[in-house]
């Protein structure tokens, strides 16, 4: 035992306590303070905003593609630029928008929802944001310099290999993977530890909010799936940079090895994006139907089942690559089986709506839009899971329609609903309900008009990833229709962005709990103070703010002079220890800068790994320099 802290929160009344905690937890003002902060809310907010900037950029790319495809043999964009654009669109949306935005919302909300003061490993969290930003900058700067990757977001060899992928374009793609995967892995580890070890006393496993459950499962998916793509992209860089032959059949390598490694990651990737959205849906449904979500246990099991099944489906992306047919049938069965947990979730939400008293605010509208569109995406998912059907629709616009139904209908709709739902918590101000309804209807109608016809185009024989098509093909009318419809979709997003920017200053004040929601993030002010909760809550049920309407039970005994929080047990969340959360530090930022220089340089020379690792090592020494505070007290 080290010395007892001088003052604990139990000794102080509320106003003095707020003042003392603020002094201990606040982020210093100024430029260096902003770079040094480890506050999960500030980092989470940055993450969310950055991801939405990438969404807007990716949307502009989509608009350019629709411009080119509106007419047959159009010459708006040449094949070289078009190939860069569709590669950038996919890569950007998957690696720089969808995965990061889901994790970002987790970074912001998970500590609040489990009732703790900061995320686990807060400096790693700061580092992960800088790495994400650097990876995004690398990709977009390369694109601006006409060096953007042009091999598809899946970068199949040998097209992306040394023989056919000239220049540094494919290397930039592969190295961008390293950046974003490092950041995603870091956040996943933080979320797993936060959920397992930092929950409020009493929040046993069966009381964890479903959104937190979904992020926990997602984080495990990231930890298992991402190494596969990092191995693949690293092998690709090695093939290209120093002439290894991992993927060169002439030298004993294998072209399909790439596809296995890529899709072993790539399919779980879909669930990495989708599962947090499912958590958002469960949260929104419960709050706006005014009853706890029906079938909590079934929903948790469905999340876990989806997470496990996610690793048994990757071959359905390779049904036409020439694998043995019997083996493929197994993957048809496993791919279709995912309809069962998906069905359980849909049915439980419908039951919740059925029994509840739904109030149709914007977040719930997006959930309803989600159910309508996602079920279509699930149905077409069943179709592509069937080997024979897939031989017709694979790599056509049918698949483009399918995965936009799953990813936009299934993940972006809930995400937009979640932004309307949690924006008041993050900013302290409400978004406009009127603009929200406009945004919903424009996005919902625009989306369906844009993407539904693509099913038909695909069945009519239009392949994916073509920069144009010939006038004699019967695709012209639908393509023009799709291009025009996409304007409606984009106007919906425009209304959303306008609302978000406008309401940040002008929105109505939200108060701590504008939706009368049941979970802990609403038990503190909006936006939350730097220390999250004045006194850490103690949980006695699954819906704390509904169960304890008067005032929440709180605990005490934490030091106010250093950043203490409660460590609790994994299953029952019994308090086990007090631990000190690290203070602000500039070193994660320098480590990210040093790592970025090393990784970017290594696109051009293998020696970068040797010389570039020296500054990384120096920065890490700074990062881990002993801090002189007691780490833990039982």
């Amino acid at each position: 035992m080290t010395q007892r802290p001088t003052t604990t929160d139990a000794d102080l009344d509320n106003s003095v306590l707020a003042d003392r905690l603020e002094r201990t937890w606040r982020t210093p003002k100024g430029f260096w303070g902003a770079l040094s902060t480890v506050d999960h809310k500030i980092i989470g907010r940055r993450y969310i905003i950055t991801a939405f900037v990438f969404l807007a950029l990716g949307g502009i790319l989509a608009a350019l593609m629709r411009l080119q495809l509106a007419q047959p043999e159009a010459r708006v964009i040449g094949p070289d630029r078009y190939n860069q654009i569709f590669t950038m669109h996919g890569t950007n949306m998957m690696f720089l928008f969808a995965v990061p935005v889901m994790e970002a919302i987790g970074v912001y909300l998970v500590p609040l929802m489990v009732g703790t003061r900061n995320i686990a490993f807060p400096r790693l969290n700061a580092f992960s944001y800088w790495m994400f930003l650097a990876g995004g900058a690398l990709l977009w700067i390369a694109f601006a310099l006409d060096m953007g990757p042009d091999v598809g977001w899946f970068a199949y060899v040998p097209l992306s290999g040394p023989q056919y992928g000239a220049g540094k374009r494919a290397d930039i793609w592969a190295q961008m993977i390293t950046f974003t995967e490092v950041s995603a892995l870091a956040v996943s580890v933080e979320i797993i530890v936060t959920v397992f070890k930092q929950r409020a006393p009493g929040m046993s496993l069966d009381r964890i909010p479903l959104f937190v459950w979904s992020l926990l499962v997602t984080s495990f998916l990231v930890v298992v799936a991402m190494p596969s793509i990092m191995i693949a992209s690293t092998c690709l860089i090695l093939d290209r940079l120093i002439g290894t032959h991992f993927f060169n059949p002439a030298e004993g390598g294998d072209v399909l090895l790439w596809q296995h490694l890529f899709w072993f990651f790539g399919h779980p990737e879909v669930y990495i994006i989708f599962l947090p959205a499912v958590g958002m849906v469960s949260t929104i449904v419960a709050t706006f139907a005014r009853r706890p979500v029906f079938g909590y246990l079934a929903l948790v099991m469905a999340l876990i089942a989806t997470g496990i099944l996610a690793f048994g489906l990757w071959v359905h992306h390779m049904f036409v690559a020439g694998l043995p047919r019997l083996g493929e049938s197994f993957f048809t069965a496993s791919s279709m089986a995912i309809a069962i947990p998906a069905g359980i979730q849909i049915f439980c939400w419908l039951a919740t709506l059925w029994d509840g008293r739904p109030s149709f605010k914007t977040p719930l509208l997006f959930v309803i839009g989600f159910i309508v569109t996602f079920v279509i995406g699930g149905m077409t998912g069943v179709m592509v899971a069937s080997v024979p059907i897939d031989t017709q629709v694979h790599d056509t616009y049918f698949v483009v329609a399918h995965f936009h139904y799953v990813l936009v209908g299934g993940a972006v709709f809930p995400l937009l609903g979640a932004i309307y739902y949690w924006y008041p918590k993050i900013t302290g101000r409400m978004l406009s309900e009127r603009l929200g309804q406009w945004a919903f209807w424009l996005v919902f109608v625009g989306f369906n008009l844009t993407f539904f016809p693509m099913h038909i185009l695909g069945l009519q024989g239009m392949p994916r990833r073509v920069y144009t098509y010939q006038p004699e093909m019967p695709w012209h009318g639908l393509n023009l229709f799709v291009s025009i419809s996409s304007l409606i979709l984009m106007s919906g997003f425009l209304v959303f962005f306008i609302d978000v920017i406008h309401s940040a200053r002008r929105g109505l004040p939200a108060g701590p709990n504008p939706w009368a929601a049941p979970t802990l993030e609403w038990a503190t002010s909006s936006p939350p103070p730097s220390y999250n909760f004045l006194r850490l809550p103690i949980v006695r049920g699954s819906n704390p703010l509904w169960e304890e309407t008067e005032s929440l039970t709180v605990g005490g005994g934490l030091s106010v002079d250093r950043r203490e929080f409660i460590v609790s047990s994994v299953v029952e969340a019994r308090p086990e220890a007090r631990e000190t959360s690290p203070g602000d530090s500039i070193w994660p930022f320098w480590t990210a800068i040093a790592s970025s220089v090393m990784l970017t340089w290594s696109i051009f020379s293998p020696w970068a790994v040797v010389w570039g690792s020296i500054p990384v090592a120096i920065a890490l020494v700074g990062w881990f320099w002993p801090k002189g505070t007691p780490e833990e007290e039982a």
Partner: protein, 337 residues
């Protein structure tokens, strides 16, 4: 037999007038055994899925708009209601499981039906290159080969086994009106059985992204009555005709003396390049540039004059030619029938 021939020809004419010179390319307009079976499966699954979707959305709308009692405490539960909902969810999940089990069985059976090989299958080698298709017929008795490009002639009503190989990157062979697609993967030997029930021109195009001109990598499958097919194959087996006209003869001289011959082969001449398509009977093929244009003297001249504008990034360089030279070479090309 004659009537059938006539109908086939009529069909081909109709098809080519309706959709230009390119013929059909649709998984919904099917004319070959495998594609017909796939179409039936697609329709089955679509109908069932649509019904399920309607059911889900109807349930949701009912859940939204149904009358309910005023109840303020969100935690107040009606145990009878909970039980009913539990049973409803369970029933729906079981129904889901039954439906997907049915789909799995149906798709397994379809795969097996398509995969049944037939002993009398004709074998054709198809090699994918950036961005065109090389097609080789092997005469099993003589060992002679006939090489053409971007056009596969097949006899009607007979299974045709395509041996799929790639010379560079991954391509995917897809003629949706006849069969599902199959990738051409470097270092691997894949195969695909196609079959046309009716004479006709069926268009296909590369379905796996393969670089700059992935969009312009089309091919035609021309299904003919067996006798027509045999005639065609016999004509293709012959060496290139010796040009009769003076202009075409001059074109031949130019072709052989300029860089053309280093990439293209014309059987019966000294041109033996292998980088580009075999041109022995290029004039008889319906399209040039892998489905880019209908073959005419004009389109041949335009292509030779400036291939990089018509198909940017393709591997054919622009060879500087005078107007007369261009006319001569295109006359020669058009004469290679």
């Amino acid at each position: 037999m004659r009537a059938q021939n006539l109908r086939g020809a009529l069909c081909a004419v109709l098809v080519s007038t309706l959709t230009g010179c390119t013929g059909l390319q649709s998984a919904l307009d099917v004319h070959g055994g495998p594609a017909i079976q796939l179409y039936q499966l697609i329709m089955l699954v679509t109908v069932v899925c649509t019904a399920v979707w309607i059911l889900v959305v109807a349930t949701m709308l009912r859940a939204i708009w149904r009358r309910r009692d005023r109840r303020d405490d969100p935690l107040l539960r009606d145990p009878a209601m909970e039980r009913r909902m539990g049973l409803a969810v369970l029933g729906a999940v079981i129904a889901t499981a039954i439906i997907i089990a049915g789909f799995t069985a149906a798709s397994f059976l379809t795969t097996r039906a398509i995969g049944l090989a037939s002993a009398d299958a004709l074998s054709i080698r198809v090699r994918g290159l950036q961005w065109w298709w090389e097609v080789t017929y092997l005469d099993a008795t003589t060992g002679a080969t006939v090489t053409t490009a971007n056009e596969i002639h097949i006899p009607v009503g007979r299974n045709v086994r395509l041996e799929l190989e790639s010379a560079d990157v991954i391509h995917s062979f897809w003629v949706p009106s006849l069969a599902g697609k199959q990738d051409l993967v470097p270092g691997r030997h894949n195969g695909l059985t196609i079959r046309a029930e009716r004479p006709g021109v069926y268009r296909g195009q590369c379905a796996e992204f393969c670089g700059l001109q992935h969009a312009h990598m089309a091919l035609l499958v021309i299904a003919e009555e067996p006798a027509d097919f045999a005639n065609w194959l016999a004509a293709q087996s012959r060496q290139a005709s010796i040009p009769a006209e003076a202009e075409a003869a001059a074109g031949q001289q130019l072709f052989l003396s300029r860089p053309c011959a280093s990439c293209h082969a014309i059987r019966g001449t000294s041109a033996a390049g292998t980088a580009g398509p075999d041109l022995t009977h290029v004039g008889s093929r319906r399209t040039i540039g892998a489905g880019l244009f209908e073959t005419t003297r004009g389109s041949l001249a335009a292509w030779i004059a400036d291939p990089q504008t018509l198909k940017p990034g393709n591997n054919m360089p622009m060879v500087p030619l005078s107007g007369d030279e261009l006319r001569a070479i295109s006359a020669y090309m058009a004469s290679l029938r």
